[in-house]
């Protein structure tokens, strides 16, 4: 890739005690996705539309424990059973329109997520790669900043501030 503003992807790895085929299905079938594609425990999740194929998209609703509704739109670019898939995910509304990050005007508009699966001895190693697409230099800056937050952890060396922010 040769772009003016290149940025290294963020990578997250995880191992699941399940065969690759099953893990792949949990990423590509709405009846599975609704059991886990939400930000944290206590949420409920419903796929109102799921056309999960290359060029297709899915629209899902997440409801927080206090009843707040959030929507996301996912568009699918590559689906290679049972090895990998590539998609983009956006904040959305009920109508399926893409919304900007309210507090983060410079957050990359386009983030591509790649999921790679590899099975070893009945366990599946998953690698998730987050990569901004054609980011502006401002977007690179925002993404890099978040990465430094990520690796240091907001909490480390920032305890006083974190405690203080809670009181605001």
């Amino acid at each position: 890739m040769s772009n003016d503003a290149t940025v290294k992807p963020s990578i997250l790895s995880r191992e699941f005690n399940a065969p690759k085929k099953l893990v792949f299905e949990t990423w590509t079938q709405p009846e599975h996705l609704q059991h886990w594609m939400f930000p944290q425990k206590g949420f409920t999740c419903e796929y109102v539309r799921a056309d999960i194929r290359v060029g297709g998209s899915a629209h899902h609703k997440m409801i927080s424990p206090d009843g707040r509704e959030m929507w996301q739109l996912t568009t699918y670019e590559e689906i290679n059973p049972y090895d990998s898939l590539v998609f983009r995910q956006y904040n959305s509304n009920e109508a399926g329109e893409i919304l900007a990050m309210p507090h983060m005007p410079n957050w990359p508009q386009e983030l591509m997520t790649t999921v790679k699966l590899e099975e070893v001895d009945g366990k599946t190693h998953l690698e998730l790669i987050w990569q901004p697409i054609n980011p502006s230099s401002k977007e690179v800056e925002a993404f890099e900043s978040s990465r430094s937050q990520h690796s240091n952890g907001w909490g480390s060396g920032f305890k006083q501030l974190a405690a203080y922010l809670k009181t605001l």
């Binding site: 939400f38 930000p39 425990k41 430094s148 907001w154 922010l165």
Partner: protein, 113 residues
């Protein structure tokens, strides 16, 4: 080390570890530059340089107290960023945990079936 980039928003400003350290030292206090020099152990130009960046993005306020200028943290602009960073940090990690639990449940059900 790369040189400190000039920066125009709070989020980028606090990406620099030294500025995080400075903010951390100032939370809930009003401090002069020389007090900050003592606390951090950095030289005065370095303290002033980072302080200026934080002032520009309004994360630090300046007040005149007699002959001295005292500085304090205005953390309000960081609040939404912190909320957001926490979300970012936890988003995929949490989803992976959801998925792990779900896969376990799924497979134990399959055995029973």
């Amino acid at each position: 080390m790369a040189r400190t980039p000039t920066t125009s928003d709070p989020f980028s400003a606090i990406a620099e570890p030294k500025r995080r350290e400075l903010i951390e030292a100032m939370v809930g206090k009003e401090l002069t530059v020389s007090e900050l020099v003592d606390i951090t152990g950095w030289n005065q130009p370095m303290v002033s340089k980072h302080l200026n960046v934080l002032k520009q993005v309004e994360l630090v306020s300046e007040r005149k107290d007699g002959r001295f200028r005292v500085y304090s943290v205005n953390a309000e602009p960081l609040k939404p960023i912190q909320d957001w960073v926490i979300q970012f940090e936890h988003l995929w990690t949490n989803r992976m945990e959801n998925l792990e639990g779900y896969l376990e449940k799924l497979q134990s059900t399959e055995v029973i079936d």
